[in-house]
């Protein structure tokens, strides 16, 4: 039997991938939009629905960034509501380990797992910036090197809490009057450099035992953390060669923790544009890229590398001749990409060379150098590509990021999924009741 593909739906995010100006674009905050995307994903038998996180509105040049979608709901609350309108779809939330405490996060995930009858998943992320910390009473931030140690201890602590109630702790025996068979159920004590807590956890063991754990780190420490603790890894490596390298790397790490090859699923994020023909899809993809990168957006992107106010530049004109400002203070705050450019001056040189060679304007260059869609083509081409990447061990499946809310997954569900099912590489019915079962993970 060929490898089975796993698919997830990422609610379109607070970034420029999401095209809010499309006539079909709906609300990013009304519950109906979440229902629509989740129900489409469930109709297509996807493994899970995924929500990202951002705990402070992004800023650039000291002002709230206004060109992308802004605003999102509380993750736990919206996932619990989605449990009411879906039956088998996994419900994955990104919750960071810096601005939360293990006891409350564990009880929220255990509650979500109960309320969804075993469909909860937790994408554990770390954030460290003082900028986000300004929204929290605990404030402050973590030194970058402490991020993974806190995340590791946070997750270990949460796992202790999830496991603190024996499966048969509750007797609820009316005749004898014994409610709790194990009077110590929930007892825990955890002491390390980050946490010193003890007492009793107050949510009984949930249907999955604990939520499915996702992890998105890409650094060496992040990959090690995933290999040690995660059930699935959300990666950025969606192409064949790059994907295979990443896949082999993280799978090779599993043995060190006594884990089997299949116990960690590798799920790169992927965008897609479908068309009646490959040419049609290519043309649509070009249009979508122009929607994603308006002139104003192009200037803002350029500012993130240059770290300067470039508002006087014409997006349809040439790149700035002045070099990037490499001082510590950064113009853009609250986004993951800020630290992406390790050597801004070298990257700027590269971009200038590329622009000169192709006679590209600022906007054209930014369209060129930022996220082209992962899959572009007819349904047959895209199905073939996805299957190929999975069978060739570049991935175990994909977390698909539509560019339109909430209907952006419809075409994929209607055209690509049936082809994958025909090939026998994607389920036609859910295998199990819980997300863990559908992902093929041991309990």
């Amino acid at each position: 039997m060929p490898k089975q593909i796993h698919l997830a739906a990422h609610f379109p995010g607070v970034n420029n991938t999401t095209v809010w100006s499309d006539p079909a674009a709906g609300s990013h905050i009304e519950f109906d939009s979440f229902v629509k995307l989740a129900q489409t994903a469930e109709r297509a038998k996807f493994d899970f629905f995924f929500l990202a996180e951002g705990l402070r509105l992004r800023e650039q040049g000291g002002q709230i960034y206004d060109l992308d979608v802004v605003g999102r709901p509380d993750t736990f609350t919206v996932l619990a509501a989605l449990a009411a309108v879906t039956e088998r779809l996994g419900l994955a939330g990104t919750i960071n380990s810096t601005f939360n405490e293990p006891y409350e996060v564990a009880r929220q995930f255990a509650s979500l797992d109960h309320l969804s009858a075993g469909r909860a998943a937790w994408n554990v992320v770390t954030s460290w910036d003082a900028f986000t910390g300004e929204n929290f009473r605990r404030g402050g931030f973590l030194a970058e090197e402490d991020r993974y140690s806190r995340a590791t201890q946070f997750l270990a602590t949460a796992k202790e809490l999830f496991g603190s109630w024996p499966a048969d702790a509750i007797a609820a025996d009316k005749a004898s009057g014994v409610f709790l068979r194990d009077p110590q159920a929930g007892t825990f004590r955890h002491t390390d450099q980050h946490f010193d807590i003890a007492g009793r956890f107050n949510v009984p063991r949930s249907p999955q035992g604990r939520p499915v754990i996702l992890q998105a780190g890409d650094s060496d420490a992040g990959r090690e953390f995933a290999a040690a603790t995660a059930d699935a890894i959300f990666s950025r490596h969606g192409t064949l060669e790059d994907g295979q390298k990443f896949y082999a790397d993280v799978k090779d790490r599993l043995a060190r923790y006594g884990r089997g090859h299949d116990s960690l699923k590798v799920l790169p994020a992927a965008t897609f544009v479908l068309g009646d023909t490959d040419n049609d899809a290519q043309e649509k993809a070009r249009i979508v890229r122009r929607q994603q990168v308006s002139g104003a957006t192009a200037i803002k992107f350029l500012e993130q590398l240059w770290n300067r106010d470039l508002s006087s530049y014409d997006p349809d004109g040439p790149l700035p001749e002045v070099d990037p400002d490499v001082s510590d203070e950064h113009i853009a705050r609250g986004r993951a990409s800020v630290r992406m450019h390790r050597d801004p001056i070298a990257v700027a040189r590269e971009w200038r060379a590329k622009a000169a060679a192709g006679k590209l304007s600022i906007r054209e260059l930014i369209i060129e150098v930022t996220g082209r869609q992962t899959f572009i083509g007819s349904a047959a081409t895209v199905a073939d590509r996805i299957d190929h990447l999975v069978q060739e061990d570049a991935a175990d499946g994909f977390i698909l990021v539509p560019h339109v809310t909430p209907g952006g997954l419809d075409e994929f569900a209607d055209t690509v999924v049936p082809l994958l099912q025909e090939r026998g590489v994607f389920r036609s019915e859910y295998e199990g009741e819980t997300l863990r079962e559908n992902l093929g993970l041991d309990r």
């Binding site: 802004v70 601005f99 405490e101 006891y103 009077p183 949510v203 009984p204």
Partner: protein, 364 residues
């Protein structure tokens, strides 16, 4: 005759310690969605104003003969929201060990998923066991001034939550294709809260909820919490012993809605009502007797009642199928839901946004 408002307080198998052993109790299902959906649907069938859902950051007791364990109340409310249409959903959330930023967006999101039916029962925790679950501070009610301190902190907390709800003006999302702007950032506001206990910058990540300000409620038994409720709450739950006491309390606490809490046993056996020690008065009797008592207390100035069913679902059904028809026959309770939001049911206007108002004043 003036209508009275009715809420029920849902907690585990009911407020009586051995409620879980009643013939119709479902103690093995306390941690399932179905259990809570059925209870809230029953309350909605009776056209009650809202349900509250108890919660805490620790177990209820160490006694293995009693119910232990809880699901997060905000998530229960949210799970039930899409399956109900009219009833208000008022989960309890503790302020003492949690982040106002998280609670603000959680209640705002509950308001979105329920289309305007969210409330919040603010709860403080002075239990050392709960503090030890977080390990970040100690709490005590022994030290001089420590109760006042906890309530001061809670007042700051509610202030932050309320400011965050207002931190987006209603028309902040503009989707202006011509300029490429999704929002008008002048309509988003830093709340810039700096208090003795914490500071929070804002704005919220969640746009202003449908009700503008979801309904804030609190239970209060004495002077310090009364002052807190006046500052922070739209509905205060109080615990009078009789009508005269109710009158006295109403004169002491100036909150838009003053509800009396009552533990309710309808058609009980003697044993059940007698065994309960409670902060709120325990009523045991017939629906007609309960209706008499509510009307008498209503005349003392209360606007409504939060009834704590002794046994679930038994006494909840007694309320919806016994008390409610009785009150309707006396013309003091609704026959149909008259509004689609919780604020609407409570006769509260959708409030103006504090930041939008400030803006207008500046222009003027």
């Amino acid at each position: 005759m003036t209508h009275l408002h009715l809420a029920v307080a849902l907690d585990g198998a009911g407020w009586a310690p051995d409620a879980w052993r009643e013939p119709d109790a479902r103690p093995a299902e306390l941690f399932t969605a179905r259990y809570w959906i059925d209870l809230v649907a029953e309350a909605e069938a009776g056209k009650l104003d809202f349900v509250t859902i108890e919660d805490a950051l620790g177990v209820q007791t160490d006694d293995p003969t009693l119910v232990q364990g809880r699901l997060d109340a905000v998530l229960i409310a949210s799970r039930v929201a899409p399956l109900t249409r009219h009833i208000g959903l008022v989960p309890t959330a503790t302020v003492t060990h949690t982040e106002p930023f998280h609670i603000s967006k959680a209640i705002a999101t509950l308001d979105y998923v329920s289309r305007g039916r969210a409330g919040w029962r603010v709860q403080l925790s002075a239990r050392p066991q709960e503090a030890a679950h977080f390990g970040r501070r100690t709490v005590s009610v022994e030290e001089e001034g420590s109760v006042q301190e906890l309530f001061d902190e809670a007042a700051d907390y509610v202030e932050v939550v309320r400011r965050l709800w207002d931190s987006w003006e209603d028309d902040a999302e503009i989707r202006d294709a011509a300029t490429g702007r999704f929002i008008d950032r002048d309509k988003l506001h830093y709340i810039g809260f700096e208090g003795r206990h914490f500071s929070v910058k804002g704005p919220s990540i969640t746009p202003r909820p449908p009700q503008g300000q979801p309904v804030v409620t609190a239970l209060a038994h004495s002077e310090i919490p009364y002052r807190f409720a006046e500052k922070a709450a739209d509905v205060v739950y109080v615990t009078p012993a009789d009508a005269a006491n109710a009158r006295e309390i109403v004169s002491q606490v100036k909150v838009r809605h003053v509800f009396a809490d009552l533990v309710v046993f309808l058609e009980p056996t003697e044993r059940e009502a007698a065994q309960l020690s409670s902060d709120a008065r325990v009523f045991a009797g017939t629906p007609a007797q309960l209706a008499d008592l509510l009307q008498e207390w209503q005349e003392a100035g209360l606007t409504g009642f939060r009834l704590r069913p002794g046994r679930l679902p038994h006494d909840l059904r007694g309320i919806t199928r016994g008390l409610v028809p009785e009150l309707r026959s006396r013309g003091v309770f609704r026959t149909e839901y008259e509004a689609s939001t919780l604020r609407g049911l409570l006769g509260l206007e959708r409030p103006a946004n504090r930041y939008a108002a400030a803006e207008g004043a500046r222009v003027a």
